[in-house]
């Protein structure tokens, strides 16, 4: 028997406490009797006067101790491993994260996992329910519990790896949530990451090996307005590795550089790209056991910055601020027509009358969309910023104190985050439901904000934060406006093109699970999202030992049986029984009747 929370066994310390309390004399009930003459004589034989009493056989005490022990053991979450019941259901969890692409076992870890899963499947009795779960960035039930083993085998064959990072425990949790006849299935995990849950049997995949990775790549502007590409390289393994880093833009090699990568440290290479614009890649040569993390992608130049649409009247101050930050181009529109915003990454709404805004990135000034978690209570006048957030990316290095606002919308905030405020909120940010927004409840003309040094920093920060949604982490999802269109095509990094249908006016793209550029093409516009690099947590190919409480699979296939519910049930039953006995008040052993003599009348039996 093992315990998930052995610390809870400390509650067993209550057992001696209860014993001590039982030995200590309770406060006595005072009862007046005709005479204590006989009791005084009887007390000479008793230990009643001792402040502690010796422990006697007491059913109530025994029940108390049993109840405490049962609850303490239950809190420790014990379980025993029993041979998996022949008739029980099975959940097969296959790790499909980036590391499963590694080729330390032929042909790859994922293929090895598939083989072992199929072997397990073949060994199961006919009719035994089996489920298949793919545990990638998000766990997905590929096949729910079914007795159709053929369907499960086919689904196993169709599993493909992602470039994403994921928690294998999420897959185990999802598997345990499945039910067959009210009972969870026995969970078998096939992957290179050990599950922490003792409820899962882990079939370890992989032998380990050396690996190097491009863990991130970003562009920066240099002092002359040119573009610099920064790439971070890391080595995983035991010994230094000699590699060649190749930098390309739009497929043309720009730079080739030899690097020595020391395990445990990271190296950064910087490439000057000038005014180049497009898709830059950084790759490592020669290839290693995990090819997918040898490549990182970034949009550089204008292509790497958001295309901005400003909706509203002329505003020289805003124009100047937008001109000072890198963008992929700034367009203007007088009226807000959301159906025309599909080709833009970011929309600036300058005192534009608004109804509801579709998902997207917005910088809003002087107005409030109807579908935001805000309500306008009225107009607040003569406000002055008193505080601003020191932690949010939008207000980083921004000191808004002293900024005066002549007239602002008085907001009642029901969500999002207030980043700056006076008596009323004056700067608000929101992220959710496919939308990122920064909102100033006043126009620039109604404030001296533009005269403060904080203004251009605030605009730059806002643009960077709002445009951050363009960079998608592996396995992330994207929702974008359909702009009145019904269908679009998505080109994946591997060149495959999939059709995407609009639903409720939105294109919901399938998970972007490969490193590279995803391009959504419609008859009227084209947008791209970049999945930059594999998460470095997936790059280590070292073989990891199972967690202490988890069990590694193999010939012993055992199913964990939690005991906690039974212990809790027993504890509750004991408490109820003790309460019942207490309520009945255990009667004292009766005093034997006196001996009858000739002169004794009554009072005896």
């Amino acid at each position: 028997m093992t315990f998930d929370a052995p610390g809870a066994l400390l509650w067993l310390a209550l057992v001696p406490v209860v014993l001590l309390l039982h030995m200590l004399r309770a406060r006595r009930e005072v009862r007046t009797v005709p005479s204590t003459l006989l009791w005084e004589r009887a007390a000479r034989d008793l230990s009643s006067r001792i402040p502690v009493r010796r422990l006697e056989r007491s059913l109530l005490l025994l029940l108390q101790l049993l109840a405490i022990s049962a609850v303490a053991l239950a809190l420790a979450r014990p379980h025993v491993s029993l041979p998996a019941a022949a008739g029980g259901s099975i959940a097969i969890v296959v790790d499909t994260t980036a590391s499963m692409r590694a080729t330390d076992v032929a042909p790859s870890r994922l293929d090895q996992a598939k083989r072992e899963a199929l072997t397990l499947l073949e060994g199961l009795g006919r009719g035994r329910p089996v489920a298949l779960i793919s545990s990638g960035a998000r766990p997905v039930v590929v096949v729910d519990l079914t007795a159709d083993h053929g369907a499960v085998a086919a689904a196993i064959g169709r599993l493909r790896p992602q470039d994403s990072w994921g928690e294998i425990d999420a897959g185990v949790t999802l598997a345990l949530a499945l039910r067959h006849s009210g009972r969870p299935p026995a969970v078998h995990v096939f992957g290179d990451a050990p599950p922490t849950s003792p409820a899962a049997v882990w079939h370890s995949i992989g032998r380990g090996g050396e690996n190097a990775a491009v863990s991130s790549v970003q562009q920066r502007r240099d002092a002359r307005g040119g573009t610099r590409l920064l790439a971070r390289l890391e080595a995983f393994g035991a010994s230094p590795q000699q590699r060649v880093a190749v930098v390309s833009v739009n497929g043309a090699e720009v730079e080739r550089r030899g690097v020595e990568l020391i395990p445990g440290t990271s190296s950064v290479i910087v490439s000057a790209l000038g005014d180049a614009s497009g898709i830059a890649t950084v790759s490592l040569e020669p290839g290693d056991l995990l090819a997918s993390d040898d490549l990182a992608v970034a949009a550089v130049g204008r292509a790497g910055f958001p295309r901005v649409l400003v909706v509203g009247g002329p505003n020289a101050v805003l124009d100047a601020a937008l001109g000072a930050v890198p963008t992929g181009g700034v367009s203007r529109a007088d009226e807000p027509r959301p159906q025309e915003w599909s080709g833009f990454d970011l929309v600036v709404l300058d005192r534009a009358p608004l109804a509801e805004l579709p998902p997207g990135a917005y910088l809003i000034m002087g107005s409030v969309p109807a579908n935001f978690p805000l309500r306008v209570r009225g107009i607040a006048r003569e406000q002055e910023f008193r505080t601003s957030s020191a932690t949010h990316p939008v207000t980083r290095l921004v000191d808004l104190r002293g900024v005066r606002v002549a007239e602002a919308l008085d907001l009642e905030v029901r969500g999002g985050q207030v980043l700056g405020e006076a008596a009323v909120p004056l700067l608000w940010a929101y992220e959710g439901r496919g939308t990122r927004a920064v909102l100033l409840p006043f126009g620039l003309a109604q404030s001296d904000l533009a005269l403060h040094p904080a203004f251009p920093i605030l605009i730059a920060n806002s643009m960077e934060w709002l445009a951050g949604g363009l960079r998608v982490s592996p396995g992330g999802s994207v929702v974008t406006l359909a702009g009145g269109l019904r269908e679009a095509s998505l080109k994946r990094p591997d060149g495959a093109v999939v059709a995407v249908a609009a639903r409720a006016g939105l294109f919901e793209l399938p998970d972007l699970d490969r490193v590279g550029v995803y391009v959504l093409t419609t008859p009227r516009w084209q947008r791209a999202w970049v999945v930059s690099a594999v998460d470095s947590r997936e790059s280590s190919l070292a073989v990891r030992p199972p967690h202490a409480r988890a069990e590694e699979g193999g010939p012993r296939r055992r199913a964990p049986l939690p005991i906690s519910p039974w212990l809790l049930l027993a504890g509750a039953a004991i408490v109820c029984g003790e309460w019942w006995m207490w309520a009945r008040t255990v009667p004292v052993a009766p005093v034997a009747p006196p001996r009858r003599r000739g002169s004794a009348i009554g009072g005896g039996r």
Binding site: T36, E40, P594, I601
Partner: protein, 298 residues
């Protein structure tokens, strides 16, 4: 303190009618100044012939048996047993401990005393009563005649529980002050820390015939206690800590049996009539059945 008497009569008329046919029995006969229904050891003017003796100077001529004189030519006087009364002293314990029980021990004692007193008065005995705790609290001087029953009942009905009890000093004082010897009926729960022996010894010394009527409630005989208790003495206020468990029950039974055995042995040794009665026994059963059985009434 409340009077003991409940709104009903002390004794029911039917019960009184049955008591009239009873008489108190005494193992000894006492000299009294008044002729009664009880045969005295004194030979004198009674109606029941007892013996002859030779005439002596000064004898009443009326008691000379002339038939004997004519036949034997000698003078003999007839001796008759003189019938005398006996004094019954009813000592009722009215200490605080007597207020316990259902019915209370004092109520039971009062009714018992009333019944015994009525029997005595109906038999032309003298009956007196004393209510005592650690000393005589109230006293009804001995009196004769059926009419005195009302005074006795009034006296008994007015008793209230009070104070601590001390039989030894009460009995010693009472026996020393009282000239009329007789039956001394002590009705009490006998819960005296000082014991009863000194008092009984004093009564015997003064030639009283003590009868101990020991009243106990069922709760005192077989207490049923549970849990941790502090028992407080109703008279002395002394406290005893007791845990109501099997051990306590056993110890109490042992102490009770030892106490009762000592009492019985003492009474046997001192020639004192001892009757222990539980207050659950009906009064009429006690008087008409049990006291007859032990020979206290007939």
């Amino acid at each position: 303190m409340e009077r003991v008497s409940p709104p009903t009569l002390l004794l029911e008329p039917e019960f009184l009618a049955r008591l009239e046919r009873l008489a108190l029995l005494s193992r000894r006969l006492y000299r009294s100044g008044t002729r009664g229904d009880r045969r005295s050891t004194t030979l004198g003017r009674g109606v029941e012939f007892a013996d002859y003796r030779s005439y002596q100077a000064g004898d009443d001529f009326r008691y000379i048996d002339w038939n004997i004189a004519s036949r034997l030519d000698r003078l003999f006087v007839k001796l008759f047993s003189e019938e005398e009364d006996v004094t019954v002293h009813l000592l009722v314990d009215v200490s605080s401990s007597m207020s316990f029980g259902e019915p209370s021990k004092l109520w039971y004692a009062v009714r018992t005393a009333a019944a015994l007193g009525f029997i005595g008065l109906a038999g032309l005995d003298r009956v007196g009563a004393v209510a005592f705790s650690d000393r005589p609290v109230r006293t009804l001087s001995p009196r004769r005649g059926r009419a005195s029953a009302f005074a006795l009942f009034d006296f008994l009905a007015g008793l209230t529980p009070q104070g601590q009890s001390d039989l030894a000093s009460t009995l010693a004082g009472y026996a020393a002050r009282t000239r009329r010897r007789g039956v001394l009926v002590v009705i009490s729960d006998l819960m005296f820390p000082g014991g009863v022996e000194p008092g009984l010894r004093a009564a015997r010394y003064h030639r009283f015939e003590p009868v101990l009527l020991h009243l106990l409630t069922e709760e005192e005989l077989e207490p049923r206690l549970a849990g941790d208790l502090r028992l407080v003495d109703s008279e002395s206020g002394r406290a005893v800590d007791v845990t109501g468990d099997a051990a306590a029950s056993t110890a109490y039974a042992r102490a009770r049996d030892a106490y009762l055995s000592d009492l019985e042995r003492l009474c046997l040794r001192s020639e004192v009539e001892y009757i222990r009665v539980a207050t659950s026994v009906p009064i009429d059963d006690l008087i008409l059945r049990h006291m007859r059985a032990v020979g206290l009434v007939a």
